[in-house]
Symmetry: C2
Subunit: 351 residues, 2 copies
């Protein structure tokens, strides 16, 4: 028995060593571009809808998508290979993930994110990433993704809401733990507005001011109307670095914003935020926060690549970096609240 | 104890269910394009060389690459996240994989494959994959990747040899098991020529004829000279569908070729091969052969996507399909020999 057990372990070690030395990882990474294109195509062709309706054979999907059977078969097989469909005989069916997040019939469907995440203009720098690495900044013009009035933020507001929506509940619960009764909230870079809106939903006495470019705020206002909180939702159009915040506020939200800028810029902005807060008020960031090693967890750490390619000096900042920024702007009691099952962390600071 | 054990299992099941319902897979697939761009950039900037020389800090790599420290730090972290470097403190080191396959100092280095696998022209169809799926064929002009005299095959021959080289030994061993003494070998779509050359190396009485476009054969001839088998290496320039094969041959190799064409075309070609073989001679394909479910194993099955995007009617054919083609052309005794640690299978048939 003992010998048998040892033999099994040796076999396992051998397999691990072989796997470690398989050049397939190089091939796979060089082909990873296909995954992005395939998911975008699958969403554009609406293949997840007929699968959810039980019409998951190639002929039915092809008819629905007005597409060739060869193309649909290879595309659907590729989805199976990548865990976004299953296949039983010749019938494609949903995985739990594709049922929840890719079938348009699901309330949690986030297929629209492919529009923003697959935005060609934002990907332009990937075409010559070596040059971006040499230059140390985006090859996009001006300030890159945060160039004033960049229309991509309207697209962000319109299409990324389903991916951000699950974070709104935890964020509001975390920040409202610090506040009761009437309160004023400033939502900087409001985008779709969901975070401020959720605060207004959870606290009926909260009054929210959304700050973003005017065309973006129109999307936020629509969402505020849908949520029935438009009477407690004001708009402050413009740049967070230029407009007068007004106030004072009990709470300032900075969601998915600081990662676009360098540390001095972040500290300056946090000082401005600090100046707009009531004594005892607080700020809350929603950020991709990698561990101090900067290489884990994968999604939060990997977000730095998006910042390299689309901004001049942004980053996925670690908690210690964000804490230092907060302290540099006069905040204290900085705390991290990772949101389960998401790459995001809520980082709060007290004025 | 029993209760405790049950609790642990429940926790495990819960985690599995949560993992299954994490929308991160959608985000990851939409960002997969970054992986391809990052590996290409890392190779172009030659970052694996200083890492292998023990100069794995950001400043040293940046100096070697003539690049910014911000860019190098984010790029190297991204390599770590994707398993192609490790990080100890602030020092990047090789994984077994990057040491073997990406460090230019390694004899097994296959960094050059990024040139072919990252070829912009071949990726053009991915930009509008939905349309390719609708049409059921490549959006490249004419016959796509197999358009006559397509220059990409010179690039293939020049850059993909390191990835194909490990397959040459197993292929030659498999096919020579059937032949001894003097023999004539036709290597169709010879490319870099490594497969025919390896046969010539393992059998000193083998005489090989390489068939490919003339500019491609110049690469094969160089490799034959390097291997010292040029006296037993002839060139037959042209299209496999048009030139007279000559012969008769003891062995015909069809490596990475049939997947570009539809089944009738493959059968017609195999008939022509059959006609050029001596009685008792054999043919050997090297192919990406997925299981009959067409969705496993991942690399072989996923190769169908490359065929959808770059050919008119090619595919990653299953063993039963290849066997049917062989039988349709008069071959018998068809056998599959998967090559360990590779996505390739050798499929042989007897004339």
């Amino acid at each position: 028995m003992a010998d048998g057990h040892t033999a099994v372990m040796d076999e396992g070690s051998k397999k691990a060593a072989e796997a470690a030395l398989n050049p397939g990882i190089v091939f796979e990474m060089m082909q990873a571009v296909q995954k992005t294109a395939a998911l975008k195509a699958a969403i554009d062709l609406d293949i997840f809808r007929p699968v959810g309706e039980g019409r998951g054979d190639v002929a039915s999907i092809a008819e629905h998508a007005n597409a060739s059977e060869r193309g649909i078969r290879i595309l659907c097989d590729f989805m199976v290979i990548n865990g976004l469909l299953t296949k039983e005989g010749n019938l494609y069916k949903h995985t739990p993930c594709s049922a929840a997040f890719l079938d348009p019939a699901s309330p949690a469907c986030l297929a629209s994110v492919a529009q923003f995440l697959g935005n060609d203009a934002m990907r332009e720098p990937l075409k010559n990433l070596a040059q971006v690495v040499r230059d140390g900044r985006t090859s996009l013009e001006g300030e890159g993704s945060v160039e004033p009035e960049n229309p991509i933020w309207v697209q962000f507001a319109e299409t990324m809401a389903p991916m951000m929506a699950p974070m709104a509940g935890p964020l509001a619960a975390t920040v409202l733990g610090r506040h009761e009764g009437p309160m004023r909230v400033l939502d900087i870079a409001a985008g779709h507005g969901l975070f401020g809106i959720e605060v207004a939903k959870q606290n009926k006495q909260a009054h929210v001011t959304g700050l973003d470019w005017a065309p973006v705020l129109r999307v936020a206002l629509k969402n505020a109307e849908k949520a029935g909180v438009q009477d407690r939702y004001d708009m402050l159009p413009g740049s967070a670095f230029e407009v007068d915040f007004g106030g004072p506020y009990d709470l300032v939200l900075l969601t998915n914003f600081l990662h676009h800028f360098d540390k001095p810029t972040c500290i300056d902005l946090l000082k401005k935020v600090h100046g707009a807060l009531k004594p005892g008020g607080s700020a809350a960031m929603l950020e991709f926060v990698p561990n101090e090693d900067r290489v884990s967890p994968p999604m939060a750490a990997g977000f730095a690549m998006t910042m390299l390619t689309t901004t001049v000096a942004g980053d996925a900042y670690t908690f210690s970096e964000l804490e230092t920024m907060y302290h540099g702007a006069g905040f204290k009691d900085v705390k991290a609240n990772p949101i389960p099952m998401s790459p995001h962390t809520i980082v709060t600071g007290c004025a």
